[in-house]
């Protein structure tokens, strides 16, 4: 019992680490990784204890109380949140250990660990929050951390631009979330914002809140999730965010923060269940994003960008799962994805660390140079592609079977996405590791143990995590739903066979194209140069935004600037000019000649006399 009650301590370990690192500053370089990792380790240990205990617990204190309205700060431990706590603290611990090697020579390593600790604190706080407002606060805080860490190498102009883009684009979604919070506050009985209250009000459509409003709130919440989780059309920031250090990409932009959107929807799932329209929106946006991002990933050349689009695609799967009503499938995939995508990013970081290149056209033949990395990357790739028995297969299977139950169109889209996923992973893997070593690969060498060990841990998890919820052992879904009967039927063997076959087909095509060279990928590019260019630029969504939103907005800004410069400033200058002109005029009067002063005095005297004497005529 004691562990759940002290769950509020979990985010405080990284916060303490952050404060310590910020206070100590630069002179603390050698200790920074240890302090950062210790903070995450503390959180991890407590999280595991809380999760193992498996007791729901809730506590809160009043924060602001005005006239019967009260806002509270509180924490809530449920099975869902305790699972998220473990995932977040585990991945962050591994990333902290890994960064000790990866960021070893960086000048600002203390700052880096400070930011990471702050992020972990905010993320854990987000997970633990018991009400929407508090969740929103932490939601913004993780956004800030993401901004700081994407722009960590701020001397690179791309990193600066990417940080700004990440912040501004997610802000659009955050505005939606804020509106949702305000609407909830307005319409909820007693203005309650806590998740338990939301659960009670919306469960089984009690009718306390109008249907239209429910749909609106759900869609606005979804808008927040779209921004944070990089769903179409707000996905554009995520590929650019890869300018940040690679461990950050693994932690924030693959495993935890981007999954916050999925977590948010899972947390407020009852809202969506109350609104079929919102559910459908989530499902279709998710399925479209999954397919859409996978096609883009096929044409990218940067290792990290491929992985970023893959992340978007996988988040699309999670949204799809939520949209078809399989919350457990989404969380299951979130968990397995956190492990194998973090593994892939860390392995990619290892490649970049060794070869100092991240363009797959310049890499090649690294398999012989970096055997361990290549095996670990392979495990991650197989898990992502959904090859049994790796974890990705099980979670993807759960999603696909839920989609088939719901709507065959979504199932087909998911299946197609799975094919593309295994294809681009095969392309990435074979281009980087197979074949003859390229020039850039010549000097590459295996990464140090401090980087390999976290990857090995993640690889083990990527293999075994899938067995948490297999068709014959639905431990996770049962556990998440708190002993209720499983929401989705056990997946049919057909789905499993089909999805595995499709994934294997993708791998086979990739193998033919990039190892056996029976299919020349260049022939596709040559046949349709426009298409590949188009895909490479991500369907030119950025350009579309630039011309549809950014440019008119900039024109508006220019217009406002001109208005400000010529009209507002004009008035100001006119006032100033009038004053100074009057001053110059009167200064000319001040010529130091007594006679001029005398004339002025006489004229003034006459005016006074006229006024005094004239009063008798009109009064």
């Amino acid at each position: 019992m004691a562990y759940s009650e002290s769950a509020w301590l979990i985010p405080l370990f990284p916060l303490a680490a952050f404060l310590l690192l910020t206070a100590w500053g630069r002179g603390f370089r050698r200790w920074a990784p240890i302090v950062g990792a210790a903070g995450s380790l503390g959180s991890l240990v407590l999280s595991i204890l809380v999760m193992a205990e498996g007791v729901d617990y809730r506590d809160r204190i009043n924060w602001i109380k005005i006239d019967g309205l009260s806002l509270s700060l509180g924490y809530e431990v449920t099975h869902l949140t305790s699972l998220m706590l473990v995932i977040v603290s585990l991945v962050s611990l591994l990333v902290c250990v890994y960064s000790a090697g990866y960021m070893k020579n960086d000048e600002r390593i203390t700052v880096f660990y400070g930011y990471v600790s702050l992020f972990v604190f905010s993320m854990l706080g987000l997970v633990l929050s018991d009400n929407m407002l508090m969740l929103y606060l932490f939601w913004e805080l993780v956004g800030v951390c993401s901004f700081l860490l994407v722009g960590f190498w701020y001397h690179k102009p791309e990193a600066k631009a990417a940080a700004k883009k990440a912040f501004i684009v997610t802000r659009i979604g955050d505005a939606g979330l804020l509106l949702a919070v305000l609407l909830l506050f307005w319409y909820m009985p007693n203005h309650a914002l806590d998740f338990a209250g939301i659960q009670n009000v919306f469960h089984g459509q009690s009718g306390a809140v109008d249907d239209g409003i429910t749909t609106l709130i759900a869609l606005l919440v979804f808008m927040g999730a779209v921004g944070k989780s990089g769903q179409f059309p707000l996905h554009v920031w995520l590929p650019d965010a890869m300018e940040g250090p690679t461990p950050i990409s693994a932690l924030i932009h693959a495993a935890t923060m981007v999954a916050a959107g999925v977590f948010l929807i899972a947390r407020t799932f009852v809202l969506f269940e109350a609104s079929p329209a919102a559910m459908d929106t989530v499902a279709y946006v998710g399925a479209f994003t999954a397919l859409f991002a996978a096609t883009i990933a096929l044409a990218q050349h940067d290792v990290k960008r491929i992985l970023a689009y893959s992340t978007i695609s996988q988040l699309g799967y999670m949204m799809l799962a939520l949209g078809v009503g399989s919350m457990t499938g989404a969380i299951f995939h979130l968990m397995t994805h956190a492990f194998f995508k973090a593994l892939l990013f860390l392995a990619a970081g290892s490649i970049i660390h060794a070869a100092h290149k991240q363009d797959i056209r310049e890499l090649g033949g690294l398999g012989s140079r970096m055997r361990v990395t290549s095996i670990l990357f392979g495990i991650g790739a197989l898990a992502l592609s959904g090859i049994p028995p790796f974890s990705g297969f099980w979670s993807k299977d759960a999603i696909l079977s839920a989609a088939l139950d719901h709507n065959p169109v979504l199932f087909v889209a998911g299946l197609l996405g799975a094919l593309l996923t295994s294809l681009y992973m095969a392309r990435l893997y074979f281009r980087v590791f197979a074949g003859k070593p390229s020039a850039a690969s010549e000097g590459a060498h295996e990464s140090p143990a401090v980087m390999l060990i976290p990857m090995i841990v993640l690889a083990v998890l990527a293999v075994v995590a899938g067995f948490a919820d297999t068709p014959w052992n639905e431990w996770l879904s049962g556990w998440l739903l708190g002993g209720e009967p499983s929401a989705h039927d056990s997946s049919s063997p057909t789905v499993m066979i089909v999805s595995a076959a499709v994934s294997l087909l993708g791998l086979y095509i990739g193998w033919l194209a990039y190892v056996k060279k029976t299919i020349r990928p260049a022939s596709v590019t040559e046949a349709m140069p426009g298409l590949s260019k188009w895909l490479e630029r991500g369907y030119r969504i950025d350009d579309l935004f630039a011309s549809v939103i950014v440019k008119p907005y900039r024109m508006l800004g220019t217009g406002a600037k001109l208005f400000d410069r010529y009209v507002v400033d004009g008035v100001v200058r006119l006032t100033a000019g009038a004053a100074s002109g009057l001053g110059r005029m009167t200064a000319a009067l001040q010529n130091g000649q007594v006679q001029t002063y005398g004339i002025a005095a006489v004229l003034g005297l006459i005016v006074i006399i006229v006024v005094m004497a004239g009063r008798r005529f009109w009064s």
């Binding site: 130091g592 000649q593 006679q595 006489v602």
Partner: protein, 100 residues
């Protein structure tokens, strides 16, 4: 007749005022001021005879005025001579010390 004397004094005063404000030679400015003082004297004496309470006091006042005017003229000319010695001119528009 009082009105005629007063009008006469007003004319003299205004001419003196004009001269004092316009003339560039400081001596003439002094002279114009004497003219204005004379106009005042004329008024005083006219009221001394035609006033509501005719009295010799008007003439006494005029006498004092003449005395003060004489002293003023003497000091004024002395100042102008000193000024001329220092600056080489007594043009009124050459002096704008008040500006500083």
């Amino acid at each position: 007749m009082l009105a005629s004397y007063l009008t006469m004094a007003a004319i003299l005063f205004c001419i003196g005022l004009y001269g004092a404000l316009v003339k560039r030679n400081a001596v003439i400015v002094l002279l114009s001021i004497e003219l204005m003082l004379n106009a005042v004297n004329l008024n005083l004496v006219a009221f001394s005879k035609y006033g509501v309470v005719p009295s010799i006091n008007g003439q006494i006042f005029a006498l004092f005025t003449i005395t003060v005017a004489a002293a003023e003229a003497a000091v004024g000319v002395a100042v102008l001579i000193a000024l001329f010695r220092a600056r080489g001119t007594i043009k009124t528009d050459e002096f704008d010390e008040l500006r500083r």
